[in-house]
Symmetry: C2
């Protein structure tokens, strides 16, 4: 498996362990355009007595240029968010990356400031233990 696929599988397993179900790739249609999002998932939260739905774009940041892949991730995220708002407004968009990439490669203010400015929801995953480390923010 490629590094991308290995991390993709880690995110899937981490979501399963966290109680999420129906984890599958997702296709959105918007006018003439078809958009493929890495993972859809849903989970029942007893406190809210409601089903929560998320759409997760997974980024391994294995490309030679972290900055280049980051531009791509931000573009996909804001475009998916726009489309979700119009076709599935109840589904919350997330970007998932490994906590190791976030701590090692995203040291520059550029990344943190862009994630904040563009209001990107994050799921940080430990790629080795295949567990979710942090939700920003929690999807309950």
């Amino acid at each position: 498996m490629s590094a991308r696929d290995v991390f993709h599988e880690a995110v899937k397993q981490a979501l399963i362990k966290d109680g999420w179900r129906n984890i599958e790739p997702m296709t959105l249609r918007y006018d003439l355009t078809k958009l493929e999002i890495d993972l859809a998932a849903d989970r029942f939260f007893a406190a809210q007595k409601a089903n929560t739905q998320i759409a997760v774009e997974v980024k391994s940041f294995g490309a030679p240029s972290v900055v280049y892949e980051f531009h791509q991730a931000i573009g996909q995220y804001v475009n998916y968010r726009m489309v979700l708002r119009r076709v599935q407004p109840e589904r919350i968009p997330y970007l998932s990356l490994s906590v190791e990439v976030y701590e090692r490669a995203f040291k520059s203010d550029f990344f943190r400031d862009s994630l904040e400015e563009h209001r990107v929801n994050l799921i940080l995953v430990d790629a080795l233990s295949q567990e979710i480390v942090t939700w920003m923010p929690k999807p309950e």
Copy 2:
């Protein structure tokens, strides 16, 4: 020259014909990150008695997936806009593409709605005549 370079040259020539000067690639530094923007340019507008500065990201949309390249373009644009606002707030960001791509490949509402939602300034260029067809909006 690659299709990308041919179109890049067309945008440069179109800007020269339109009275822009000092047309050069541009490097922005933001904390630890270096960002390369395709073209910076400036022009004196007599009516305003002022020098107007722009930063132009050029996209040929020659990749196999227009949607993929579009995500990349949107991500670069919003990131460059954020950085410009903080380090060169007087410089106006633009995305440049050929009028032919805009009319042929961007027929789906997805593209037009995303450009509007993300408030992207556009320069549409005729790649053959190397002339600017439309500014949206004009940078005066």
